[in-house]
């Protein structure tokens, strides 16, 4: 080992050291056994970790937190189980899309009957609508989005079950306040009233990043497409810290419970700042805020 760490008075590597390094690599290249040993040492532990905390749990995991009732019971009552033939697939896909559409419409109808403002996320058209009584009052164009692969991996039956009822807001984190409240104490007399600032608040410019935590493990993250100002980095760090805490789990949890069923289903949407702000400000507090999703077409 000394030969690898020797330095001359100026702190430079000596020729001897360079020779030793070259010797080491030429020696290593000439020994397949050593290379194999190195690979085994380097890969065994990560491979075991991947197998135990990623692959095996993923194989056993149900992509949706809810599961549709099995048809097996119903099938067992049939004298002969009917199976779909390939030529019927286009019709069946069409039926699945119609089921999806019907469920989406039924959800909208249910929320239209209520007085609250609600959100309609339409992934097919890449829009997030703010709706009141069935009327989309603002259509927010989604510039881009990332949806959890669980939506793709899920069976139609399970996905339908998950989307069957509107999602209810459970919590939220945001870079902007829900209500920009200003507290004013009533002046005692006209002189004190005259001293009160008369200039209204300027339109808000704060960066809009927020996360809505719904029931059924749905997490919707919305962020503005506009770049943030350097002075807002502190605000963003604080938000990011709170956001990370949604998904953070201890090392022990990651190993002992690699994929708990309550893992969030994350959908990230990017849109312009005005739309994002309008969405966050318009939705009611917590359990009164509802969301419905129209997922991608079944044939996509």
């Amino acid at each position: 080992m000394n030969s690898f760490s020797q330095k001359d008075s100026n702190g430079q590597h000596t020729d001897k050291q360079q020779n030793a390094i070259l010797w080491f690599f030429s020696w290593f290249i000439r020994r397949p056994g050593m290379q194999l040993l190195f690979l085994i040492i380097a890969i065994t532990l990560p491979a075991i970790i991947i197998a135990l905390t990623v692959l095996i749990p993923a194989a056993a995991f149900s992509p949706m937190p809810v599961k549709a009732e099995s048809n097996d019971k119903a099938d067992s009552t049939l004298t002969k189980k009917v199976e779909a033939t390939a030529d019927q697939h286009p019709l069946y896909l069409n039926i699945l899309n119609k089921e999806q559409k019907l469920s989406f419409f039924q959800n909208r109808l249910e929320l239209a009957r209520q007085d609250s403002i609600y959100l309609v996320l339409n992934l097919q058209d890449s829009v997030l609508d703010i709706e009141i009584k069935g009327l989309p009052v603002q259509r927010c164009k989604i510039q881009s989005y990332n949806a959890s692969s669980r939506l793709k991996a899920a069976q139609h039956e399970d996905l339908q079950k998950w989307l069957e009822t509107p999602f209810t807001l459970q919590g939220e984190i945001s870079t902007i306040p829900k209500v920009p409240v200003l507290l004013v104490d009533a002046p005692k007399d006209t002189t004190e009233a005259a001293k009160l600032p008369k200039k209204p608040m300027e339109p808000e410019k704060t960066a809009v990043f927020f996360t809505l935590l719904f029931d059924k493990n749905l997490v919707i993250e919305i962020e503005q497409t506009e770049t943030i100002l350097p002075e807002e980095e502190g605000l963003m760090l604080n938000y990011q810290h709170r956001f990370d805490s949604i998904f953070s789990r201890t090392l022990m949890q990651k190993i002992t419970q690699p994929m708990p069923q309550q893992l969030p289903i994350h959908i990230k949407l990017r849109m312009n700042e005005g739309d994002a702000r309008a969405i966050y400000r318009s939705i009611p507090h917590s359990k009164y805020a509802k969301l419905i999703i129209n997922p991608l077409d079944e044939s996509m």
Binding site: E83, Q88, Y92, E99, L135, E157, K188
Partner: protein
């Protein structure tokens, strides 16, 4: 044994039949040790990477093991009469769509955005007729000394035009006096009635909230009101003439 040193400092036997230089045992031992250390370090780093990105890897792994092959759904559909089911689904969709459309306004309506402080006026077919700026609630909480407080916010949801008034007179509520440091007069005291403050027209939405004009046109587009919706003169006139009593007002 007689030994010679070669140029790289390695020792070799003089009597060796092959003259190739051989690494000494210490060097080989060191090299093996280095491989072990590097191997372990690489292993730890890779493991840390896997743990850190566990969620991302799991999401990707899900697509390996699970796919929406529709088999279960197809079998379910096949077990009933698919064509009839298809027709009944279309019928259900149409009915639900009709029920949804029944909620939509049948006459002209207005949509007010309290975040952007703007409005859009639509005809019965949903065609935009006019848009412009408004002022809505300031979200100010006024605290009076006698444990009373008011929050100046514009109500949200679906409201209706309940009454339309030309040359409206504003009956000032208590807070209008309190916020100016004035003594609150009796309910019908003449000082409560103000002419011209609300502009040429007003449309009542109930609970004291109105769409009306303003003297403070420079504040249009900003949240400055006590909950009412203020408009510029031309916008107000057009909105007043277009909306009828019962017209829907959507505020979000």
């Amino acid at each position: 044994m007689n030994q010679l040193r070669n140029t790289s400092g390695q020792s070799e036997s003089v009597n060796s039949p092959i003259k190739k230089p051989k690494p000494n045992a210490k060097r080989v031992r060191n090299a093996r040790f280095i491989i072990l250390i590097f191997g372990l370090l690489t292993s730890i780093m890779l493991s840390a990477f896997v743990i850190k990105n566990q969620l991302i890897l799991q999401e990707k792994a899900l697509l390996i093991f699970h796919s929406n092959d529709h088999a279960k759904s197809f079998d379910r559909i096949a077990s009933r009469s698919p064509k009839k089911y298809d027709v009944s689904l279309s019928k259900d969709i149409d009915n639900t769509d009709k029920a949804l459309k029944a909620f939509l306004p049948k006459q002209t309506y207005i949509v007010i955005n309290t975040t952007g402080n703007n409005f859009k006026l639509f005809d019965a077919n949903g065609k935009a007729l006019r848009e412009g700026l408004v002022s809505t609630g300031s979200f100010t909480i006024l605290k009076a000394g006698d444990n009373r407080q008011w929050m100046f916010k514009t109500p949200r949801g679906q409201l209706k035009i309940l009454r339309k008034t030309k040359d409206p007179v504003w009956k000032r509520p208590d807070w209008a006096f309190i916020e100016e440091g004035l003594k609150v007069p009796s309910a019908n005291h003449p000082s409560r009635f103000e002419y011209g403050t609300l502009g040429d027209y007003s449309m009542s939405l109930g609970d004291g909230y109105m769409i009306h004009g303003t003297l403070y046109k420079r504040f249009l587009g900003l949240p400055v009101t006590h909950g009412c919706i203020r408009m510029g003169d031309e916008d107000l006139e057009d909105v007043f003439n277009t909306l009828k009593i019962g017209s829907k007002v959507y505020i979000y």
